[in-house]
Symmetry: C2
DNA sequence: TTTTTTATGTAACATTTGTTACCGATCAGG
DNA sequence: CCTGATCGGTAACAAATGTTACATAAAAAA
Protein backbone atom coordinates (compact mmCIF):
# COMPACT_ATOMS: atom_id res chain seq x y z
CA UNK A 1 0.00 0.00 0.00
CA UNK A 2 2.26 2.75 -1.18
CA UNK A 3 -0.50 5.34 -1.25
CA UNK A 4 0.86 6.43 2.08
CA UNK A 5 3.65 8.06 0.11
CA UNK A 6 1.78 11.35 0.45
CA UNK A 7 2.47 11.34 4.13
CA UNK A 8 6.00 10.08 3.89
CA UNK A 9 7.62 13.47 3.93
CA UNK A 10 6.58 14.01 7.50
CA UNK A 11 6.55 10.55 9.06
CA UNK A 12 9.33 8.35 10.31
CA UNK A 13 9.99 5.22 8.27
CA UNK A 14 8.91 3.02 11.14
CA UNK A 15 5.62 4.84 11.37
CA UNK A 16 5.04 4.54 7.65
CA UNK A 17 5.55 0.82 7.98
CA UNK A 18 2.98 0.65 10.73
CA UNK A 19 0.54 2.69 8.70
CA UNK A 20 0.99 0.27 5.84
CA UNK A 21 0.57 -2.68 8.13
CA UNK A 22 -2.45 -1.56 10.14
CA UNK A 23 -4.07 1.05 7.97
CA UNK A 24 -6.80 -0.05 5.62
CA UNK A 25 -7.17 1.59 2.24
CA UNK A 26 -10.76 2.36 1.38
CA UNK A 27 -12.44 3.97 -1.61
CA UNK A 28 -15.69 5.90 -1.79
CA UNK A 29 -17.69 7.24 -4.68
CA UNK A 30 -19.11 10.74 -4.86
CA UNK A 31 -21.77 11.25 -2.23
CA UNK A 32 -21.04 8.09 -0.28
CA UNK A 33 -21.26 8.26 3.49
CA UNK A 34 -17.96 7.81 5.32
CA UNK A 35 -19.13 8.61 8.83
CA UNK A 36 -22.59 9.20 10.20
CA UNK A 37 -24.21 10.60 13.30
CA UNK A 38 -24.51 8.29 16.24
CA UNK A 39 -22.33 5.53 14.90
CA UNK A 40 -19.27 4.47 16.79
CA UNK A 41 -16.07 5.47 15.13
CA UNK A 42 -13.40 2.84 15.25
CA UNK A 43 -11.03 4.38 12.78
CA UNK A 44 -9.62 7.70 11.85
CA UNK A 45 -9.50 8.63 8.16
CA UNK A 46 -6.40 10.00 6.47
CA UNK A 47 -7.37 11.44 3.12
CA UNK A 48 -5.20 10.10 0.32
CA UNK A 49 -7.06 11.40 -2.69
CA UNK A 50 -10.20 13.46 -3.22
CA UNK A 51 -12.16 15.54 -0.77
CA UNK A 52 -14.07 14.67 2.36
CA UNK A 53 -16.86 16.96 3.49
CA UNK A 54 -17.50 17.03 7.22
CA UNK A 55 -20.83 18.21 8.60
CA UNK A 56 -22.54 18.55 11.93
CA UNK A 57 -26.20 18.68 12.83
CA UNK A 58 -27.47 21.01 15.52
CA UNK A 59 -30.39 20.62 17.91
CA UNK A 60 -32.86 22.02 15.44
CA UNK A 61 -31.80 19.65 12.73
CA UNK A 62 -29.88 22.22 10.74
CA UNK A 63 -26.79 20.82 9.14
CA UNK A 64 -23.72 22.96 9.20
CA UNK A 65 -20.54 22.54 7.20
CA UNK A 66 -17.54 22.06 9.45
CA UNK A 67 -14.72 21.76 7.00
CA UNK A 68 -13.44 20.12 3.88
CA UNK A 69 -10.53 17.72 4.12
CA UNK A 70 -8.26 17.22 1.17
CA UNK A 71 -5.15 15.22 0.50
CA UNK A 72 -3.05 14.29 3.54
CA UNK A 73 -5.46 15.91 5.96
CA UNK A 74 -7.38 14.20 8.71
CA UNK A 75 -10.47 14.67 10.82
CA UNK A 76 -9.76 15.89 14.32
CA UNK A 77 -13.34 15.36 15.36
CA UNK A 78 -12.99 11.71 14.51
CA UNK A 79 -9.77 11.60 16.44
CA UNK A 80 -11.25 12.70 19.71
CA UNK A 81 -14.27 10.49 19.17
CA UNK A 82 -11.98 7.52 18.74
CA UNK A 83 -9.97 8.21 21.84
CA UNK A 84 -13.00 8.39 24.05
CA UNK A 85 -14.88 5.69 22.18
CA UNK A 86 -17.77 8.02 21.65
CA UNK A 87 -20.46 8.02 19.04
CA UNK A 88 -19.86 10.32 16.13
CA UNK A 89 -21.10 13.87 16.36
CA UNK A 90 -20.40 14.46 12.73
CA UNK A 91 -21.24 13.18 9.30
CA UNK A 92 -18.67 12.84 6.54
CA UNK A 93 -19.44 12.52 2.85
CA UNK A 94 -17.16 11.84 -0.08
CA UNK A 95 -17.04 14.80 -2.42
CA UNK A 96 -16.04 13.33 -5.72
CA UNK A 97 -14.08 10.09 -5.71
CA UNK A 98 -12.27 9.58 -2.47
CA UNK A 99 -9.54 7.38 -1.10
CA UNK A 100 -8.67 7.22 2.55
CA UNK A 101 -6.49 5.18 4.84
CA UNK A 102 -8.43 4.07 7.86
CA UNK A 103 -6.30 3.98 10.97
CA UNK A 104 -7.71 1.69 13.68
CA UNK A 105 -8.49 3.55 16.89
CA UNK A 106 -6.23 1.53 19.13
CA UNK A 107 -3.18 2.58 17.15
CA UNK A 108 -3.88 6.30 17.42
CA UNK A 109 -3.06 6.42 21.05
CA UNK A 110 -0.12 4.12 20.85
CA UNK A 111 1.57 6.08 18.08
CA UNK A 112 1.07 9.37 19.88
CA UNK A 113 3.86 8.55 22.30
CA UNK A 114 5.82 6.27 20.03
CA UNK A 115 6.25 8.62 17.09
CA UNK A 116 6.87 12.34 17.55
CA UNK A 117 6.01 12.94 13.91
CA UNK A 118 2.58 11.40 14.51
CA UNK A 119 2.02 13.59 17.54
CA UNK A 120 3.00 16.66 15.55
CA UNK A 121 0.76 15.63 12.70
CA UNK A 122 -2.21 15.24 15.03
CA UNK A 123 -1.54 18.50 16.81
CA UNK A 124 -1.15 20.34 13.57
CA UNK A 125 -4.43 18.86 12.41
CA UNK A 126 -6.21 20.09 15.49
CA UNK A 127 -4.73 23.48 14.91
CA UNK A 128 -5.68 23.65 11.27
CA UNK A 129 -9.24 22.60 11.94
CA UNK A 130 -9.36 25.14 14.71
CA UNK A 131 -8.15 27.87 12.42
CA UNK A 132 -10.67 26.97 9.81
CA UNK A 133 -13.48 27.11 12.29
CA UNK A 134 -12.24 30.48 13.41
CA UNK A 135 -12.26 31.65 9.83
CA UNK A 136 -15.75 30.31 9.56
CA UNK A 137 -16.91 32.20 12.64
CA UNK A 138 -15.22 35.33 11.45
CA UNK A 139 -16.86 34.98 8.09
CA UNK A 140 -20.35 34.52 9.49
CA UNK A 141 -19.97 37.17 12.14
CA UNK A 142 -18.35 39.96 10.17
CA UNK A 143 -19.00 39.44 6.52
CA UNK A 144 -22.06 39.96 4.44
CA UNK A 145 -23.50 37.08 2.54
CA UNK A 146 -22.12 38.24 -0.79
CA UNK A 147 -18.57 38.19 0.56
CA UNK A 148 -19.15 34.81 2.11
CA UNK A 149 -20.50 33.49 -1.16
CA UNK A 150 -17.44 34.71 -3.02
CA UNK A 151 -15.17 33.14 -0.40
CA UNK A 152 -17.13 29.93 -0.70
CA UNK A 153 -16.73 29.84 -4.48
CA UNK A 154 -13.01 30.52 -4.20
CA UNK A 155 -12.64 27.69 -1.72
CA UNK A 156 -14.48 25.30 -4.00
CA UNK A 157 -12.21 26.36 -6.81
CA UNK A 158 -9.14 25.77 -4.67
CA UNK A 159 -10.31 22.33 -3.58
CA UNK A 160 -11.27 21.07 -7.00
CA UNK A 161 -8.58 22.91 -8.91
CA UNK A 162 -11.18 23.84 -11.50
CA UNK A 163 -12.95 27.12 -12.08
CA UNK A 164 -16.12 25.27 -12.93
CA UNK A 165 -18.09 24.52 -9.82
CA UNK A 166 -20.68 21.79 -9.89
CA UNK A 167 -23.42 22.64 -7.45
CA UNK A 168 -27.04 23.68 -7.37
CA UNK A 169 -28.04 26.95 -5.79
CA UNK A 170 -29.89 24.94 -3.21
CA UNK A 171 -26.75 23.09 -2.11
CA UNK A 172 -24.83 26.30 -1.76
CA UNK A 173 -27.62 27.90 0.21
CA UNK A 174 -27.57 24.90 2.51
CA UNK A 175 -23.87 25.16 3.20
CA UNK A 176 -24.04 28.86 3.85
CA UNK A 177 -27.12 28.41 6.03
CA UNK A 178 -29.44 30.58 4.02
CA UNK A 179 -32.15 30.07 1.43
CA UNK A 180 -32.01 29.21 -2.24
CA UNK A 181 -33.68 32.40 -3.40
CA UNK A 182 -31.08 34.52 -1.66
CA UNK A 183 -28.22 32.64 -3.27
CA UNK A 184 -29.82 32.82 -6.69
CA UNK A 185 -30.18 36.55 -6.24
CA UNK A 186 -26.56 37.07 -5.27
CA UNK A 187 -25.25 34.77 -7.98
CA UNK A 188 -27.25 36.66 -10.56
CA UNK A 189 -25.64 39.89 -9.40
CA UNK A 190 -22.19 38.33 -9.74
CA UNK A 191 -23.11 37.20 -13.23
CA UNK A 192 -24.33 40.65 -14.17
CA UNK A 193 -21.05 42.07 -12.93
CA UNK A 194 -19.18 39.75 -15.26
CA UNK A 195 -17.62 37.65 -12.49
CA UNK A 196 -19.27 34.32 -13.25
CA UNK A 197 -21.43 32.45 -15.71
CA UNK A 198 -24.44 30.49 -14.53
CA UNK A 199 -25.64 27.17 -15.91
CA UNK A 200 -27.79 24.44 -14.53
CA UNK A 201 -25.87 22.78 -11.68
CA UNK A 202 -22.77 24.61 -12.72
CA UNK A 203 -21.05 27.89 -12.07
CA UNK A 204 -18.11 29.05 -14.12
CA UNK A 205 -15.75 31.52 -12.48
CA UNK A 206 -14.36 34.02 -14.96
CA UNK A 207 -10.85 35.52 -14.95
CA UNK A 208 -12.26 38.70 -13.51
CA UNK A 209 -13.58 36.79 -10.51
CA UNK A 210 -10.78 37.56 -8.08
CA UNK A 211 -10.94 41.32 -8.33
CA UNK B 1 1.18 25.12 46.03
CA UNK B 2 -1.93 23.13 46.84
CA UNK B 3 -4.13 25.16 44.52
CA UNK B 4 -3.63 22.33 42.10
CA UNK B 5 -6.10 20.42 44.25
CA UNK B 6 -8.79 21.32 41.72
CA UNK B 7 -7.11 19.14 39.19
CA UNK B 8 -6.24 16.34 41.55
CA UNK B 9 -9.31 14.28 40.85
CA UNK B 10 -8.10 13.57 37.37
CA UNK B 11 -4.33 13.58 37.61
CA UNK B 12 -1.91 10.97 38.85
CA UNK B 13 -0.07 11.84 42.07
CA UNK B 14 3.25 11.96 40.25
CA UNK B 15 1.86 14.46 37.78
CA UNK B 16 0.45 16.61 40.53
CA UNK B 17 3.89 16.68 42.08
CA UNK B 18 5.40 17.81 38.82
CA UNK B 19 2.76 20.49 38.42
CA UNK B 20 3.58 21.73 41.88
CA UNK B 21 7.28 21.65 41.12
CA UNK B 22 7.31 23.26 37.68
CA UNK B 23 4.05 25.17 37.53
CA UNK B 24 4.09 28.79 38.56
CA UNK B 25 1.11 30.27 40.35
CA UNK B 26 0.16 33.68 39.02
CA UNK B 27 -2.54 36.17 39.92
CA UNK B 28 -4.22 38.75 37.73
CA UNK B 29 -6.64 41.54 38.50
CA UNK B 30 -9.79 42.25 36.53
CA UNK B 31 -8.96 43.36 33.03
CA UNK B 32 -5.27 42.45 33.17
CA UNK B 33 -3.71 41.00 30.05
CA UNK B 34 -2.62 37.38 30.34
CA UNK B 35 -1.69 36.76 26.72
CA UNK B 36 -1.46 39.14 23.81
CA UNK B 37 -1.23 38.98 20.05
CA UNK B 38 2.17 38.41 18.57
CA UNK B 39 3.94 37.55 21.78
CA UNK B 40 5.63 34.23 22.16
CA UNK B 41 3.85 31.93 24.52
CA UNK B 42 6.14 29.99 26.78
CA UNK B 43 3.57 28.67 29.17
CA UNK B 44 0.11 27.21 29.14
CA UNK B 45 -2.38 28.52 31.70
CA UNK B 46 -4.48 26.26 33.88
CA UNK B 47 -7.25 28.28 35.45
CA UNK B 48 -7.41 27.83 39.21
CA UNK B 49 -9.87 30.53 40.15
CA UNK B 50 -11.81 33.14 38.25
CA UNK B 51 -12.49 33.46 34.55
CA UNK B 52 -10.22 33.96 31.59
CA UNK B 53 -11.64 35.52 28.46
CA UNK B 54 -9.98 34.48 25.23
CA UNK B 55 -10.28 36.61 22.11
CA UNK B 56 -8.99 36.66 18.58
CA UNK B 57 -8.57 39.48 16.13
CA UNK B 58 -9.36 39.06 12.47
CA UNK B 59 -7.82 40.69 9.40
CA UNK B 60 -10.09 43.69 9.61
CA UNK B 61 -9.25 44.32 13.22
CA UNK B 62 -12.52 43.02 14.59
CA UNK B 63 -12.11 41.20 17.84
CA UNK B 64 -14.11 38.07 18.33
CA UNK B 65 -14.78 36.19 21.54
CA UNK B 66 -13.43 32.65 21.36
CA UNK B 67 -14.39 31.27 24.71
CA UNK B 68 -14.40 31.77 28.42
CA UNK B 69 -12.28 29.51 30.58
CA UNK B 70 -13.25 28.86 34.14
CA UNK B 71 -11.90 26.75 36.95
CA UNK B 72 -9.76 23.77 35.93
CA UNK B 73 -10.02 24.59 32.25
CA UNK B 74 -7.17 25.40 29.93
CA UNK B 75 -6.51 27.14 26.66
CA UNK B 76 -6.02 24.79 23.74
CA UNK B 77 -4.95 27.62 21.49
CA UNK B 78 -2.10 28.34 23.84
CA UNK B 79 -1.24 24.69 23.89
CA UNK B 80 -0.70 24.38 20.18
CA UNK B 81 1.15 27.69 20.11
CA UNK B 82 3.51 26.40 22.76
CA UNK B 83 4.23 23.16 20.98
CA UNK B 84 5.17 24.85 17.77
CA UNK B 85 6.82 27.81 19.50
CA UNK B 86 4.61 30.17 17.59
CA UNK B 87 3.52 33.67 18.38
CA UNK B 88 0.14 33.97 19.97
CA UNK B 89 -2.86 34.33 17.72
CA UNK B 90 -5.07 35.15 20.65
CA UNK B 91 -5.45 37.60 23.48
CA UNK B 92 -6.50 36.57 26.96
CA UNK B 93 -7.88 38.89 29.60
CA UNK B 94 -8.68 38.25 33.25
CA UNK B 95 -12.39 38.61 33.87
CA UNK B 96 -12.61 39.42 37.54
CA UNK B 97 -9.80 38.27 39.80
CA UNK B 98 -7.95 35.36 38.33
CA UNK B 99 -5.48 32.75 39.44
CA UNK B 100 -3.69 30.44 37.06
CA UNK B 101 -0.94 27.90 37.12
CA UNK B 102 1.50 28.53 34.33
CA UNK B 103 2.92 25.33 32.92
CA UNK B 104 6.23 25.83 31.13
CA UNK B 105 6.07 24.81 27.50
CA UNK B 106 8.81 22.23 27.63
CA UNK B 107 6.85 20.18 30.15
CA UNK B 108 3.69 20.02 28.06
CA UNK B 109 5.21 17.72 25.55
CA UNK B 110 7.05 15.61 28.03
CA UNK B 111 3.98 14.94 30.14
CA UNK B 112 1.89 14.03 27.14
CA UNK B 113 3.61 10.68 26.87
CA UNK B 114 4.53 10.29 30.50
CA UNK B 115 1.08 10.74 32.02
CA UNK B 116 -2.03 9.32 30.39
CA UNK B 117 -4.18 11.54 32.58
CA UNK B 118 -2.43 14.60 31.17
CA UNK B 119 -2.96 13.41 27.64
CA UNK B 120 -6.64 12.85 28.36
CA UNK B 121 -6.94 16.24 29.97
CA UNK B 122 -5.41 17.93 26.93
CA UNK B 123 -7.53 15.98 24.50
CA UNK B 124 -10.66 16.67 26.44
CA UNK B 125 -9.75 20.35 26.43
CA UNK B 126 -9.38 20.40 22.70
CA UNK B 127 -12.70 18.70 22.40
CA UNK B 128 -14.48 21.07 24.74
CA UNK B 129 -13.11 24.14 23.01
CA UNK B 130 -14.08 22.61 19.74
CA UNK B 131 -17.61 22.00 20.93
CA UNK B 132 -17.92 25.52 22.19
CA UNK B 133 -16.82 26.92 18.90
CA UNK B 134 -19.35 24.73 17.19
CA UNK B 135 -22.02 26.05 19.49
CA UNK B 136 -20.84 29.50 18.67
CA UNK B 137 -21.06 28.90 14.93
CA UNK B 138 -24.46 27.33 15.32
CA UNK B 139 -25.61 30.27 17.35
CA UNK B 140 -24.43 32.86 14.85
CA UNK B 141 -25.59 30.94 11.83
CA UNK B 142 -29.04 29.85 12.95
CA UNK B 143 -30.22 32.05 15.76
CA UNK B 144 -31.53 35.55 15.77
CA UNK B 145 -29.76 38.17 17.78
CA UNK B 146 -32.35 38.21 20.53
CA UNK B 147 -31.85 34.49 21.18
CA UNK B 148 -28.12 34.93 21.10
CA UNK B 149 -28.35 37.79 23.56
CA UNK B 150 -30.39 35.70 25.96
CA UNK B 151 -27.93 32.83 25.62
CA UNK B 152 -25.10 35.26 26.25
CA UNK B 153 -26.70 36.57 29.43
CA UNK B 154 -27.36 33.05 30.67
CA UNK B 155 -23.74 32.13 30.05
CA UNK B 156 -22.53 35.17 31.96
CA UNK B 157 -24.82 34.22 34.81
CA UNK B 158 -23.47 30.68 34.80
CA UNK B 159 -19.87 31.83 34.81
CA UNK B 160 -20.22 34.39 37.54
CA UNK B 161 -22.81 32.54 39.57
CA UNK B 162 -24.68 35.81 39.97
CA UNK B 163 -27.80 37.05 38.26
CA UNK B 164 -26.38 40.54 38.18
CA UNK B 165 -24.25 41.04 35.11
CA UNK B 166 -21.73 43.83 35.08
CA UNK B 167 -21.30 45.03 31.54
CA UNK B 168 -22.04 47.98 29.34
CA UNK B 169 -24.23 47.62 26.30
CA UNK B 170 -21.20 48.47 24.24
CA UNK B 171 -19.19 45.54 25.61
CA UNK B 172 -22.01 43.13 24.93
CA UNK B 173 -22.43 44.45 21.41
CA UNK B 174 -18.75 43.92 20.87
CA UNK B 175 -18.82 40.32 21.98
CA UNK B 176 -21.84 39.54 19.87
CA UNK B 177 -20.32 41.38 16.93
CA UNK B 178 -23.08 43.90 16.50
CA UNK B 179 -23.67 47.52 17.42
CA UNK B 180 -24.51 49.17 20.71
CA UNK B 181 -27.79 50.57 19.51
CA UNK B 182 -29.05 47.16 18.53
CA UNK B 183 -28.20 45.68 21.91
CA UNK B 184 -29.80 48.57 23.75
CA UNK B 185 -32.92 48.02 21.72
CA UNK B 186 -33.12 44.32 22.45
CA UNK B 187 -32.30 44.76 26.12
CA UNK B 188 -35.06 47.33 26.42
CA UNK B 189 -37.52 44.83 24.95
CA UNK B 190 -36.41 42.23 27.49
CA UNK B 191 -36.90 44.76 30.24
CA UNK B 192 -40.36 45.66 29.00
CA UNK B 193 -41.22 41.96 29.01
CA UNK B 194 -40.24 41.76 32.66
CA UNK B 195 -37.22 39.53 32.09
CA UNK B 196 -34.50 41.89 33.25
CA UNK B 197 -33.83 45.22 34.91
CA UNK B 198 -31.41 47.68 33.38
CA UNK B 199 -29.00 49.91 35.24
CA UNK B 200 -25.85 51.65 34.27
CA UNK B 201 -23.17 49.03 33.63
CA UNK B 202 -25.41 46.43 35.15
CA UNK B 203 -28.14 44.06 34.10
CA UNK B 204 -30.21 42.17 36.63
CA UNK B 205 -31.80 38.95 35.46
CA UNK B 206 -35.19 38.39 37.04
CA UNK B 207 -36.66 35.04 38.07
CA UNK B 208 -38.83 35.08 35.00
CA UNK B 209 -35.74 35.23 32.81
CA UNK B 210 -35.46 31.56 31.92
CA UNK B 211 -38.94 31.15 30.50
C1' DT C 1 -18.79 73.02 41.79
C1' DT C 2 -18.37 72.88 36.74
C1' DT C 3 -16.80 70.35 32.91
C1' DT C 4 -16.00 66.31 30.41
C1' DT C 5 -16.60 61.71 29.49
C1' DT C 6 -19.24 57.66 29.26
C1' DA C 7 -23.56 55.10 29.15
C1' DT C 8 -28.00 54.76 27.70
C1' DG C 9 -32.73 55.82 25.26
C1' DT C 10 -35.01 56.60 21.12
C1' DA C 11 -36.43 57.92 16.45
C1' DA C 12 -35.96 57.64 11.62
C1' DC C 13 -34.19 55.51 8.04
C1' DA C 14 -31.16 52.29 5.03
C1' DT C 15 -29.67 47.88 4.02
C1' DT C 16 -29.53 43.10 4.26
C1' DT C 17 -31.60 38.95 4.48
C1' DG C 18 -35.61 35.88 4.64
C1' DT C 19 -40.15 34.31 2.76
C1' DT C 20 -43.73 33.26 -0.35
C1' DA C 21 -45.48 32.71 -4.61
C1' DC C 22 -45.32 31.84 -9.28
C1' DC C 23 -42.99 31.39 -13.68
C1' DG C 24 -40.57 28.82 -17.39
C1' DA C 25 -36.59 25.72 -18.49
C1' DT C 26 -34.43 21.49 -18.28
C1' DC C 27 -33.94 16.83 -17.23
C1' DA C 28 -35.19 11.85 -16.25
C1' DG C 29 -38.32 8.17 -16.61
C1' DG C 30 -42.05 5.95 -18.49
C1' DC D 1 -43.74 11.69 -26.85
C1' DC D 2 -45.79 13.04 -22.30
C1' DT D 3 -45.27 13.68 -17.30
C1' DG D 4 -43.43 14.74 -13.11
C1' DA D 5 -39.46 16.36 -10.68
C1' DT D 6 -35.85 19.52 -10.09
C1' DC D 7 -33.63 23.80 -11.00
C1' DG D 8 -33.29 28.54 -11.58
C1' DG D 9 -35.35 33.59 -12.31
C1' DT D 10 -37.97 37.12 -10.48
C1' DA D 11 -41.24 40.06 -8.00
C1' DA D 12 -43.27 41.66 -3.89
C1' DC D 13 -43.16 41.86 0.59
C1' DA D 14 -41.76 41.02 5.66
C1' DA D 15 -38.52 40.95 9.16
C1' DA D 16 -34.10 41.62 11.17
C1' DT D 17 -30.27 44.21 11.69
C1' DG D 18 -27.26 48.22 10.88
C1' DT D 19 -26.58 53.29 10.85
C1' DT D 20 -26.92 58.04 11.98
C1' DA D 21 -28.26 61.48 14.72
C1' DC D 22 -29.45 63.52 18.83
C1' DA D 23 -31.03 63.77 23.66
C1' DT D 24 -30.57 62.83 28.58
C1' DA D 25 -28.47 60.88 32.73
C1' DA D 26 -24.82 59.27 35.51
C1' DA D 27 -20.11 59.09 36.66
C1' DA D 28 -15.51 60.85 36.59
C1' DA D 29 -12.36 64.46 36.28
C1' DA D 30 -10.99 69.03 36.77
Amino acid sequence: MDESANFAFQFEPALIQEIEEFGELRSFKDGELVMDYGKYIRMMPLVVKGTLKVLKKDDNGNEILLYYLSSSETCSMAYSCCLEEKKSEVKAIAEGDLQIIAIPHNKLDEWLCKYPSWKNYIMRSFNERFSEMLKSIESIAFHKLDDRLIAYLKERKRLSGSSVIKASHYQIADELATSRVVISRLLKILENNGKILLYRNEIKLLQDFDS
